[in-house]
Amino acid sequence: MIVSNLEIIPGKRIQQHFGLVQGSSVRAKHVGRDIMAGLKNIFGGELRGYTELLQESRQEAYDRMLEQAKAVGANAVLNVRFSTSSVAAGAAELFAYGTAVILE
């Protein structure tokens, strides 16, 4: 499965378009991590716990997108975009979407 955020893959032709595939995941913060983050808010610096948390949930959104692409029979997802929005206080939605295609 080729996943790329380019519209064209060099050297490959698009045979068939399947339209948009997407995946999302909503995560809430974890109390333990929140306390650490509160401390870091005084000292400044990287919040490793949050970086990991967001990365995990983004990976989940990404995996869901790939599942959808596989289900329609695509072998590549092009023009992938990520987006983040906060739905409620303390929760974030991570969203990944792209175009499923069959490449030669």
């Binding site: 005084i42 000292f43 610096g45 990287e46 919040l47 990365q55 990520f82 983040t84 974030a92």
Partner: protein, 148 residues
């Protein structure tokens, strides 16, 4: 009185650790930027034509950074008068450069020659309490072109 002492000690702690952390982070960023200069990151959408022997792979890097107490306090004062808030500028600058460095690191580990169509996405988290921005997440992603 107690409140004042707590505030002052928080400011002092924030100032001390914050300055130290920022300085350390900048030194490390500069060092890694020099090392990873061999992997150019390009914002162009169109991949190089005429050289079709590339594999492409999505790479991403993200970082969550927080501003310290002192800088948030200063930014709060600044927002009364308006003007540039340099303390947040350096925060975002650090976050973006760090995210791009992580993309480059991942691309280099894959043996990529360059990274195309880089996109940067910024989200502010930890909005809950008060109106302080607190921490930001920056995500950078792009397509790594790996010669095969």
């Amino acid at each position: 009185m107690i409140d004042l002492i707590i505030l002052i000690s928080l400011l002092a702690l924030g100032y001390g650790f914050g300055q130290y952390a920022e300085k350390k982070h900048y030194t490390s960023i500069r060092k890694r930027e020099l090392i990873l200069r061999s992997v150019p990151v390009v914002a162009s959408k169109i991949p190089p034509q005429g050289k079709p022997n590339y594999d492409s792979q999505l790479v991403s890097g993200s970082v969550v950074v927080s501003v310290d107490y002192f800088k948030r306090f200063v930014a709060g004062l600044k927002s009364l008068f308006g003007g540039r808030i340099t303390s947040y500028e350096t925060l975002l600058d650090r976050a973006r450069r760090e995210a791009i460095l992580r993309v480059k690191r991942e691309a280099k580990d894959m043996g990529a020659e360059m990274v195309f169509n880089i996109k940067l996405e910024t989200a502010s988290i930890h909005k809950g309490r008060g109106n302080g921005i607190g921490s930001v997440e920056v995500l950078a992603y792009g397509t790594a072109l790996i010669p095969n």
